[in-house]
Every structure is written in structure tokens, then in C-alpha cells.
Symmetry: C2
Subunit: 268 residues, 2 copies
DNA sequence: TTCTGGTAATGAGTAGTATTCATTATTACT
DNA sequence: AGTAATAATGAATACTACTCATTACCAGAA
């Protein structure tokens, strides 16, 4: 275990790049020499910036490939090739394949979070916001279902999970949901009967399982059904705002149902 | 691609054993020769039975190891060694590692199903049954959380998933839940507002996510909280079984009935 | 501009594991 | 006991994550 100039750190998570990163940018330098980049590649920037670019490129390629073929079928060799780096280089930026998976998952959450925040800001009313969030999440995980697999791949190290970058990313993401729920409770639309983490797990867990069902059955309309079904569980659609039962309203409701029944067959 | 006497079938799933299986049992034969079994090993049974035994042994060993170390860290070589067979033998019984994972997952569901059915039979009342099911499932997946990983490992082949043995096992398992829910709807305790698959996904998905949260935070009491929280989402806690009638409870009951009638009688 | 210490990048080599298949052992039955 | 069919074996193959000695590159100094 001799300590060469860039040894592997024991601490998990957070490789920042080769020894550098966050070193102040200095000057513009000449353009890339060998292996001219795929894109037009204008004059290259400082060393630190190049390092950051390279890390991003690797993550981006890995993201694409994992989304397309899944984690197991994605090889480091191919990632390296498509990112225009050597295999060894990947390991300068990421401890191992799992750490790379972690970074990809973070990127996924980051993207989802940005869209979620923007979308929530646009809507009015707790119910509308929740419907948007549910649909946004469901469509996102359907589109990139392979990425979700990374949660399992990564979870092995639940030791130091709290504090990891991935944990933070996930936290930021669910915070959007939590915020909406809190708003609901404050405005009295939602009755807070249980710990918030349970509601959260039901929401995301339910959506993930719904995704699997939908992907097996391949029905477009199922997305709507799942979204509405799950939202209705969090906000009772007929929600009596006051929390007190309104007898008059109930009577009216029963009247309406009775009328409808008169014209319909008695259910089995 | 020459077809030797036992070639690999293209069809996925369902390897039954080497060419045999379901051939009629014939006679008792002498005991095991080399590699005397770990257990006392009484006189061995017919060829077909031995084959079945061997398959079970492999699955059992794989089950143990995957539950203990996870799928990736479990090697075929070690499974073979602990099951007292050669590496190649494993491939006589299972197409590949993934198919073995599938068999393990099936065994897991089978075990859960038996316990679930027995437990449900013991309880009275939809609510009690659901609480039992939720706790049973949650404790089961906490105890053997690594097994759940196999769902993802296996899911790749969603093409021919329906019809697979695994699909059937899973179906049998969730059928227990479905049965209880149906009972709830029929007795009016539960309002059937949404498609049953949504309720099901919320139930199991919510429990799985709750499991993750619980395993990270390591609080015993969280299990109870999650169980009650999720069950309450399916059966509003105020739901009256019988007996006294304060107005609020009655209203809740009527709401449920009204919803049921709407869902059942009114054509979409 | 040239030099130089240190950093980044490389890719052939190592180690480990799923999978195959020619060969050998075991049956069940005559 | 003989034998055709079947089951079992494990060394060889094919891949892939990961390492590390070597090389290329860069930023500043002279």
C-alpha cells in the first residue's frame, strides 16, 4: 500500500477530480492536441476547467448508456471510449463503477429537482401542485427507468449514506414534495395524521410500483389513473375543509347518488 | 452451435432440471457415493427425486447467500461449492445467474405467500387483516432486504415476463392482498374509488420505500408507524365496524357506501 | 523561450467471475 | 453384467472491473 501521487482515498463518495478542482482558474491555454474532441472544440480553457469538463463528460456518457442499457450491461471500457478518455482516466474521477453510478443518480435527481421546482412554482393550489409532481415524477421514471436501478446498486453502503452527496441530492428532490405537503397542512387542505416520511414514502414508492405495472401493461391512460389515484390518497377529493362533517352536503350527495341509481342497474 | 445432448434452450425461465423431471419415480437406489452429503443422508431415492433435491439445494444455498451478501457479491462458484455440486451443474438447472435469481425470488414469494395466507385466515375484520399483511410484508422485506434487489436484477426481461413462473408467484402473493381489499369493498368498509392495481402498488411500493427509510434510521417503532400509516390510507380509521353511531362515524360510513355505489353502478 | 517539478492521462496487465463443453460417472433397465 | 441414455464434472474461455508503471502535459520560473 504505497502512497503514490494519486492514491485511492478511503472515504467514499465525492471524488472531485484528479487532485485539482476548486483550484483557481488561471489562463486560457491552447486547444486540445491529440484526440480532437467530437464537438467543434474551441480553444480550451484552464486546466481546472478542463478537469471539470472531463468529469461532466464521463457522467453524461455514463448516464446515457445506463439509461439505455442498464447498469450491468454498461461497461467502463465503452464509457471511456465514448467519452474520449482512457479506461484508467475514469478511475481518476471515480473510485469505482459504483461511485460513478452514484454520480449518475445524483445528476438524475438534480435534473428532476430543477424541473419539479419550476413546475410547482407555476401552479396554484396544493392539489394542482401535487398532481403536477406526481405526473412529473412518474413520467420521468418511466422515461429513464433504468436509472432507478441505481438506487439499489448504490444502497449497499447504508453506513455512511447520510452525508453523502447522493443523500443530499435525494433530500433536495423530496424537499419539493415535502414543501407542498407542508403547505397543504398549513392551509388545512390536508390533515396531518402521520409522520411526513410515511406520506413521502407512499407517494414515491407508490409511483415507482405504478411505473412497473404501467411498463408491463403499456397503457397510456394508466399514467393518469395512477397520478389521480395517488394524489387522492393524500388529499381526499371531497375533502371537507373544516374537518367537521357537513351533514347538509352529505345529504345532498346521497340524494344525487340515489337519483343516479334510479336510472342504473343495481350492482352485483 | 452443435446440438449436444443437453443444449441450452432459447426460451427463458423455467429450467426444470436436466432433461428429466416429472419422469415417473421408479425404485430406490443405493446411497450417495462420493462427496457424502452434509446431512445424515439416508439411502437415496430415485433419479428424478435426486434431481429435484439438487435443484432445491442449489436454490436454498443461493437464497441464503444472496440474502446475506447481495446478488453481485454472490458467486456461482461458491454456490456450487456449498451445494456440493460442480460449477457446471448449476448451469444444468439454471440458464444463467439471472434465472437462478428468478428462482430465488420465486421461493421468497412462495414463503411469504404461505405465511400471509395463514395469517390472514387467523384474523377477523378487514382492518386487522390489512394490518397483519402490512406488518408481515414490511418485516419480511426488512429481514431479507437483499432479496428485493432481485426484482430489479430480473426485470430486464419484461418482454416475456407475463407467463413466467416468477410472474405467477408474484401474482399469487399479491392475490392475498387483493382478496382482503375485495372483502373490504364488499362489506362497505373500503370505498372503491380507484383501480385495484393502484391501491396494490401504493401498498407494496409504500412499504418498500418505508423499509428503506427504516433501515437507514434504524428505529424499531417506525415499523408500527409505517404499518398504521399505510393501512389508514386504505381504510379511513374512523370507519365504523358496527355498534354505536356518533354522527361523524356514520357520515364516514355513508361516504364510503356512496363512493362504492358510484364506482360500481355508474357507467363510465 | 526553455526548463522543470508536479499533475493528469494512458493502456497494457492483473484478478476475478460467468459461462461453455469435451470428457467422465451414474443410472435404469435388459 | 452390459449398455444406452442421462447427469455431473471442472478445466478452458471470454469478459470486465480495476491497477500501476510509464508517458504526456501544464504552469510557472529563469
Amino acid at each position: 500500500m504505497n502512497t503514490t501521487h494519486y492514491q485511492k482515498v478511503n472515504a467514499p463518495e465525492r471524488r472531485a477530480g484528479p487532485e485539482l478542482m476548486a483550484k483557481t482558474a488561471i489562463k486560457a491555454t491552447r486547444s486540445v492536441t491529440r484526440k480532437s474532441r467530437a464537438n467543434g472544440a474551441a480553444a480550451k480553457r484552464t486546466r481546472g476547467e478542463k478537469v471539470a469538463d472531463k468529469e461532466e463528460a464521463i457522467v453524461a456518457v455514463a448516464y446515457e448508456m445506463i439509461a439505455a442499457k442498464g447498469f450491468a450491461r454498461t461497461t467502463i471500457a465503452e464509457i471511456a471510449r465514448k467519452a474520449n478518455v482512457a479506461e484508467g482516466t475514469v478511475y481518476l474521477y471515480f473510485e469505482n463503477k459504483e461511485a460513478l453510478a452514484s454520480a449518475v443518480l445524483s445528476a438524475f435527481y438534480k435534473r428532476l429537482t430543477a424541473q419539479a421546482e419550476a413546475g410547482v412554482k407555476k401552479r396554484d393550489g396544493v392539489r394542482e401542485k401535487l398532481i403536477f409532481l406526481a405526473r412529473h415524477h412518474l413520467e420521468g421514471i418511466i422515461r429513464e427507468s433504468s436509472i432507478l436501478e441505481l438506487i439499489t446498486v448504490t444502497d449497499r453502503n447504508s453506513e455512511n449514506y447520510e452525508g453523502s452527496a447522493l443523500y443530499q441530492m435525494n433530500k433536495d428532490y423530496v424537499a419539493v414534495f415535502d414543501g407542498v405537503m407542508r403547505e397543504g397542512v398549513l392551509t388545512g387542505v390536508i390533515a396531518q395524521e402521520k409522520a411526513s416520511w410515511i406520506t413521502r414514502d407512499v407517494f414515491f414508492g407508490g409511483l415507482e410500483y405504478a411505473m412497473r405495472t404501467i411498463m408491463i401493461r403499456r397503457r397510456k391512460k394508466d399514467v393518469d389513473a395512477a397520478v389521480m389515484g395517488i394524489v387522492d390518497m393524500l388529499i381526499p377529493p371531497g375533502a371537507v375543509q373544516s374537518g367537521r362533517t357537513d351533514l347538509t352536503a352529505l345529504a345532498g350527495r346521497l340524494e344525487a347518488v340515489a337519483s343516479k341509481l334510479e336510472g342504473a342497474a343495481i350492482p352485483k
